[in-house]
């Protein structure tokens, strides 16, 4: 019942849709369409080789990559006061922060919380693959920052350590461990075969 009441709050609308995506609302599954309103409590899920961009009420944008899923848990007066739960896959967040107002925008994954101190960052939650640098851990979160600073912590870790990630860097949160030291953003692209 509480979920139904919350679900009446408008969060934004679908701005772009490539491929197919579904919206789960009040237990019903609805095919996503361009300009479709998105409400607080909606669960969005993209198919393979699909992506969807949501424009929130204040102009902020969330781009969900293929085979990814989010729930908008809270959207208060603006996107800068929102909580997004990333259940799987990759989410790019470009947050429109009002001047002089401390942001309260957070992206949660099962093992990480990324709190915005900037405007443009990407969160990816991966399950079933060994975490780079932590081979015995099979679920991890990557957070890369394009603009501003994002503070990252692992609420499931016994060590209450948070890491501030500046623009141009990324961190990895493995299983129940604290976030790793930031490394240059996209360094993985340079580790592929053929590059040297």
């Amino acid at each position: 019942m509480a979920g139904n009441a919350v679900a009446q709050v408008n969060a934004g609308a679908i701005k772009e849709l490539h491929g197919t995506a579904d919206v789960q609302r009040n237990g019903r599954l609805i095919a996503a369409t361009p300009a479709m309103p998105i409400l607080v409590g909606d669960k969005l899920e993209t198919s393979r080789q699909s992506s969807v961009t949501i424009e929130l009420s204040d102009g902020s944008q969330l781009t969900l990559s293929d085979a990814s899923s989010i729930v908008i848990n809270r959207a208060m007066t603006s996107a800068a006061d929102s909580t997004i739960e990333l259940l799987k896959g990759k989410l790019r967040s470009i947050v429109n922060i009002a001047a002089g107002k401390p942001p309260g925008f957070e992206v949660h994954t099962p093992n990480a919380v990324a709190s915005v101190r900037g405007t443009d960052f990407e969160t990816e939650y991966i399950e079933g693959k060994p975490c780079p640098g932590f081979p015995q851990c099979l679920r991890y979160t990557d957070i890369g920052v394009y603009k501003g600073i994002v503070e990252v912590r692992n609420p499931t870790s016994l060590k209450p350590i948070s890491v501030r990630v500046a623009a141009g860097y990324e961190t990895t949160v493995p299983c129940e461990l604290p976030p790793a030291n930031p490394a240059p953003l996209g360094i993985g692209d340079l580790t592929a075969p053929g590059y040297h």
């Binding site: 060994p130 394009y146 141009g168 860097y169 692209d189 340079l190 075969p193 053929g194």
Partner: protein
């Protein structure tokens, strides 16, 4: 010449792999056995220009890679080379009348192995076509150290052996990720080349500092190197763009 170079490099390779410890080794074994799902197809376009006081070369081409397991990929390369030789410097763009440009292609195929993240070892074989028809064997190695830090360091080498003239060619690079923004990554380091054997005779070499830019949005790499060596002053510019698709 080739076996001698390999004997020098092999202990370094073994030390690097052992340095990652037994846990990483266990991860490496599973990376070899499990099929990659989804698979990944990659395409890299490249263009390189080299100019020295004695000669110049340009080459352009492409490389296609397909993952089989997380640790194994098959690789194919097709590259077109132009070599400009002559008396004194000949610009690759406007070669002098006394120059003798040679045009040939290189077709190679092989496999790339990545026992741990950030380290790849590639073996390729192929043949030149056109003004040269030498069978070629090539191996490339690249390893990133301290990946979970602000300044990871890359060590790489590439050796090629041309069976027609017996020449072995080796390229070495050490670079550090120096500066990173949301748009680009700056790498600084030193690099060079060693070649010799067969018709090239005694070992020769050259080296100098290099600067690399990686533009994330377009997945474009631009590398510049200048230095001095057996061909006297030289300069090298390379450009590559990568594409990738999950299947």
């Amino acid at each position: 010449m080739r076996s001698c170079s390999f004997m020098r490099i092999a202990p370094l390779l073994v030390l690097l792999l052992l340095g990652f410890g037994s846990t990483a080794l266990a991860q490496g074994v599973s990376r070899f056995l499990e099929l990659e799902n989804p698979g990944h197809l990659s395409l890299r376009l490249l263009a390189v220009g080299y100019g020295a006081e004695k000669y110049g070369t340009t080459h352009t081409g492409l490389e296609i890679g397909q993952t089989i397991t997380p640790a194994i990929s098959i690789i194919g390369r097709a590259i077109a080379y132009q070599v400009y030789q002559g008396t004194g410097f000949d610009s690759p763009l406007t070669p002098a009348s006394r120059s003798s440009p040679r045009n040939f292609g290189l077709l190679e195929a092989g496999a790339s192995f990545s026992p741990i993240q950030g380290t790849t070892f590639t073996l390729l074989g192929g043949e030149n076509v056109g003004d040269a028809d030498a069978p070629v064997f090539e191996n490339d190695f690249s390893s990133w150290l301290w990946l979970q830090s602000r300044h990871p360091i890359n060590f790489s080498y590439s050796t090629s052996h041309y069976f027609e003239n017996g020449v072995t060619n080796g390229l070495l690079d050490v670079r550090m990720a120096t500066f990173s923004t949301g748009r680009l990554l700056l790498l600084l380091g030193v690099g060079g080349a060693i070649w010799g054997g067969g018709s090239a005779g005694q070992a020769k070499g050259q080296g100098g500092p290099d600067v690399g830019f990686f533009l994330r949005e377009w997945r474009v790499s631009i590398d510049l190197q200048a230095g001095y060596g057996s061909s006297r002053t030289y300069g090298l510019v390379s450009f590559s763009r990568s594409f990738g698709w999950d299947e």
